[in-house]
Structure formats: structure tokens, C-alpha cells
Symmetry: C2
Subunit: 232 residues, 2 copies
DNA sequence: GAGTGGTCTAGACCACCCT
DNA sequence: GGGTGGTCTAGACCACTCG
């Protein structure tokens, strides 16, 4: 494992284990260098990683400090799709509505940057968080990249399967948010009256090569979902 | 100005001016080093900056490539509050509803991490984007940090005033999103029927020292606002 | 195997905070 | 002025892609 990630992980664990509060001062660069026996740049990189994750903040001339999220029960908007990460103590599960192979609509073809002749896997699922309905997800995977899916795989985390079984990793993503009342088709899936408010998120995931392989349209249950986002 | 920011800016301008498409290949490290006459680490840092902004993506063993946002008319969720940045060609303006000094409610005190004896400026505004109602904003500033505000300042970008006149810069922020139907009090301000769907964002802005100085409750007009977010 | 990005080092020097 | 984080360098070596 890379040194800087190793160190980042250790510092994060220290914060977790010692339950350090917001604003707690962490060891200085010099101390970290001698603790971990690495160069200053490696420490710099480890801390930059933690800073961009929102775990710490650095103040020039002063020190390195713990940054904590104030509110509980909010879903990190940066979190990768699916339920790979249940770090926050959520229990995520899903119910499959259907899985099929289709030829893409214009919308899908445009987002996956493919032609209407390419085949795509289409998955529709209801996702649950701690047993409550979280969202309705319609997700499309390029078959040329993800050659095989079945009901069993799709019941669990699709991204986990893709990464472990296929060795394919999402490298970056675009997310588009808008608000819209629930229509009559979708409302029953979320067990809400139609015209309830709903957050719609379109997501596109890309390979390291910049090729999109997944496009998802997700509709969130408005009373069971809330989100947070930390910026620098 | 810092070298790595200078270089990042130049590369971004090059993308803009030459209107390079998604996936266009940029010069290699070696070329960039000789073009800008700096060390490899400086190039690395410049590119890391651009990558985290979503302007490029890097592929090991292959090259550096342009990343473009596909959809237009979406507001960057990472964008700092207010209308400091109208880079995307939006025209932003505001109408003041009131400006006053208050003692904080529990909610405000908790988010600003202050006591109920501390005074805060409270500003309520309607924000417009290209002449259409964008959102209703209620914003609270610690008077101990922002000692003076008046109607004129508040009509424009408050953050711009704070930065230029006071030399105070926001260093990081927390944002909390949830969906809720509009209540009867807020609906008229957005010129929408009550119970319309609405995105509510609570924002807290921090100084470099980690002290919060601003807390805002923002309610977005659901047909006039949509957002995007790029992750890595 | 050539080309290209990523990690890591050791050390110089700068910018800022605090007392 | 002492302590602390931030920038920058020159160079070694590693990991990945692609023809």
C-alpha cells in the first residue's frame, strides 16, 4: 500500500479511536515525519488527502486540526453509488424490480456516449436504508464493458462486483440534481402519494480511460434521505 | 501568485480558448515542464488542482485529458455562496427583505457555535438568476467577526465584501441538503403554491481558524434551479 | 520497450501565527 | 523570534499503457 494512504488511514483511525473533538490539535509535521519515518512531502500528501475528505483542516503557522461533521444521519453526496460503503453504520439493502438487456434510448445513449445499436444492461431496484425505502434506482451498464450480470449480483452491490470480479474501477463521476414532484408511475415504488416532492439525481460513472460505463437515474424518498457535502 | 496556480490557470485558459473537447489530449509532463520551466512536482500540483476541480483527468501510462461538463444550465454545488462567481454566464441579483441584528435562536447558536448572548446579523433575501427567482435565503453572520453590514453591502455579494473590505476569507464549508414541501410562509416569496417541492440547503462557512462565521438557510425554487457535482 | 503518470526523498526557502 | 504549514526543486525509482 502507498505510504501516504497508509499514513492518512492511521491518522484517521487515531481521530476515530481517541474520539478527538472538532478543533483538536494533531501532531505537527515534524512529529509526523519522525513518527512515520517518511519525508515531508509524503506527510503533505497524506494530509492533503484527509483535508479533501473533510477529516482535518490545516492552518499555516498554527497547526493541523480535526474537522468533524456536526450532524448525524446525513448521506455523503460524494459517496460512490450503491452500498459499497456502509461506514456510517447504515444498513443498505435492495429489492430487484427487473434486470434486462435493452437497446438504449436517446437519453441513455447520450449519457453513456454510445450508439443506439450498443446493448446495455438495465436494472431497476428499490434501495432500503435501515429497512426504510431510500430511493428508486434505474441503472444502465454498457454491456461491452460489463459483459455479464444476473439477479444474484444485482441484489448486492453492483459496483462491488464490478471492482472485485472484473477488476474495473470507477475513476470519476458526474452527478446532476433536480427537484421534481413524483409522477404516478414512480410514487407507488416509494410508497408515497404522487406529487410528493422528490430529489432526482442522474449519475454517470467513468472508467480511468474517461469512457462512461454506467448511467443511473435515482429518485430519493424525501422523508428518508438527507445529504451533506463538505467543501474546501 | 503561486506557480502551480499560475500554470493551472494557463492550462484551463488553453482548454477554454482552443475549445478542446472531452477526451482531448493535453501536453505530457515533460512538455509542460519545459514549457513552464518548473519542476515536475509543481506540474503535479497544478494538475491535481485541475483534476479536483473536474477540469481534467489523468491516466497513468497514457496521458492527461480534458474533462468537460456535458450539461449546461446546472449550478455547481461546490460553488461558494452568494454570487461572487458568475463564471458560468449567469446573471445573479438579489432583493433584500430585511437586515437586522438579533440574538440567535438555538439552531443558529448551535450552527455558529456561539452563545445566545452573542449578537448576529440576520439577512433575508430573494436571489434571482437571469431575472428568475432562484432561492430564498436567510443568512446569519457573527457580529464579533463581521462587525458591520448595511443595506447597500447586503444588496450585492456579502462574501465579496467580507473578503475585499475585511480581508476575511472563508476556508471551508459544510452543506446539508434535504427535500421538503414549501410552507405557507415561504411559498409567496418564491411565487409558488405552498406544498410545492423544494430543496433546502443549510450552509455553514468557517474561517481558516475553524471558527464558523456564517450560517445560511436556503430554499431553492424547484423549477429554476438544478445542480451538478463532479467527484473523483 | 518506449513513453507517460505517480510516489517518494532531502533539503532550501517562504508565509503565516502567536507570544 | 520560534514554531509551523506551504511551495518548489532535482532527481531516483515505480507502475501502468500501448503499439
Amino acid at each position: 500500500m502507498l505510504k501516504y494512504l497508509e499514513i492518512a488511514k492511521k491518522i484517521e483511525e487515531k481521530i476515530q479511536i481517541e474520539n478527538l473533538p472538532q478543533g483538536a490539535k494533531l501532531p505537527s509535521f515534524e512529529e509526523l515525519i519522525s513518527t512515520y519515518q517518511v519525508s515531508k512531502s509524503t506527510i503533505t500528501k497524506a494530509l492533503a488527502t484527509l483535508e479533501s475528505k473533510g477529516s482535518i483542516f490545516q492552518v499555516r503557522g498554527s497547526g493541523i486540526f480535526v474537522r468533524r461533521k456536526k450532524r448525524k444521519g446525513y448521506i455523503n453526496l460524494h459517496m460512490q453509488q450503491g452500498f459499497t460503503q456502509d461506514t456510517e453504520g447504515y444498513k443498505l439493502s435492495s429489492k430487484l424490480i427487473w434486470l434486462k438487456i435493452i437497446t438504449p434510448t436517446d437519453e441513455i445513449a447520450s449519457n453513456l456516449n454510445c450508439t443506439k445499436e450498443d446493448e446495455v444492461y438495465a436494472v431497476k431496484r428499490i434501495m432500503y436504508i435501515d429497512g426504510k425505502i431510500l430511493c428508486l434506482e434505474e441503472s444502465f451498464y454498457k454491456k461491452s464493458i460489463i459483459p455479464y450480470l444476473n439477479n444474484e449480483i444485482v441484489q448486492d452491490s453492483i459496483f462491488y462486483y464490478i471492482e472485485t470480479a472484473l477488476g474495473i474501477k470507477a475513476s470519476f463521476s458526474d452527478k446532476y440534481l433536480h427537484i421534481q414532484p413524483l409522477n404516478e408511475d414512480d410514487a407507488p415504488y416509494l410508497d408515497l402519494p404522487s406529487n410528493s416532492p422528490a430529489l432526482h439525481i442522474d449519475e454517470v460513472y467513468f472508467l480511468t480511460t474517461g469512457e462512461p460505463f454506467n448511467f443511473s437515474k435515482i429518485i430519493y424518498h424525501y422523508t428518508h434521505s438527507q445529504f451533506f457535502l463538505q467543501s474546501n
